[in-house]
Symmetry: C2
Subunit: 202 residues, 2 copies
Amino acid sequence: PFLLSDFLKENPEIDLELDVSNRDNVIRQLENNEVDYALMTRLPEAMSLSSLELMQNNLVLVGGKGSREDFSRNKNAYFKRFPFIFREKGSATRKAMKDYLKLNSYHSEKNITLTSNEAVKQAVISGMGCSIVPLIGIKNELHLGQLEVLSAPGLPIKSSWYMVHLKEKKHSPTAKEFLKHLIDKRDSILSKHFDWVKEFEF
Amino acid sequence: PFLLSDFLKENPEIDLELDVSNRDNVIRQLENNEVDYALMTRLPEAMSLSSLELMQNNLVLVGGKGSREDFSRNKNAYFKRFPFIFREKGSATRKAMKDYLKLNSYHSEKNITLTSNEAVKQAVISGMGCSIVPLIGIKNELHLGQLEVLSAPGLPIKSSWYMVHLKEKKHSPTAKEFLKHLIDKRDSILSKHFDWVKEFEF
């Protein structure tokens, strides 16, 4: 939304639809020419896409209140007590988390799967387990001490958000304007709204 | 998640899948016997369901920082400057919001549709418009002053969350235990985690 709000204020006649969905659905919508632009973190290699890099999307391991202390005392005991909470199949964050856990030979004795970052966040806050989530989505919860970032080798998992569109897509004048607006304003929007993430960089 | 976390701690062997979706999808999953339980606010009349009332789900009108002052000065000017942000088709919150606006002859010159409460929240915070959202989902944002509840006749829109299942559903022992746990613990869970909503009751 922060990337859109100035543009909408300057262009009050625009009707906007923004669909928040997982990676698999986004790819399908691109293929079916249903959307002007899509935001994604890992670009599908099989498609012919134009892309604009918007910002870093660091994935961090988080636990609830008090977890940093528990975790630093004994990681294995921590993971035993707080199972991993996954997003649903088709989510890019789920895939990144599975890859990370496999690489580090971590495993969980039980499976918890929740559809949406918001549900994962609430589950971690309520003490149900730990998870790997996008840092930009947990600003308030970190500042309020409801979530704590846990530091371990290989973390954070670094990727970027890209705004993409099909190379052959015929954009409306408005959609073209929006791309231009983003290219012009990207840096100022990011420094205004996302400077806080530097606090949590490693 | 708060309704589940104690139960999972007492029953560490359980695998959980929780799907967060809009009303239309939830009804489809119930019909197809794909889920043990569903949470919903308005019960579909055409289905034979057993239901347990869990908690109030008040929908409140919210704007960004400073909106309470703007709104109380001049509602019409406020609605002109801050268009309504809707959830996608199939969402119960969207339906309640549409009904409310129609009843009060409010209308918006532009349409903004966002899929997920989280996206709506971020959009309102970023100054894109106002929306009607579940009070229980915006605790942090209210306490941090990023969102403000706007008071107007007919608000909040009162409904309740119900946990439902098909009357003829054959539940596993674990699923039966969970229902029993909720009936026993409902009041203590609610007073522990949701007492703060009283601050914003009218």
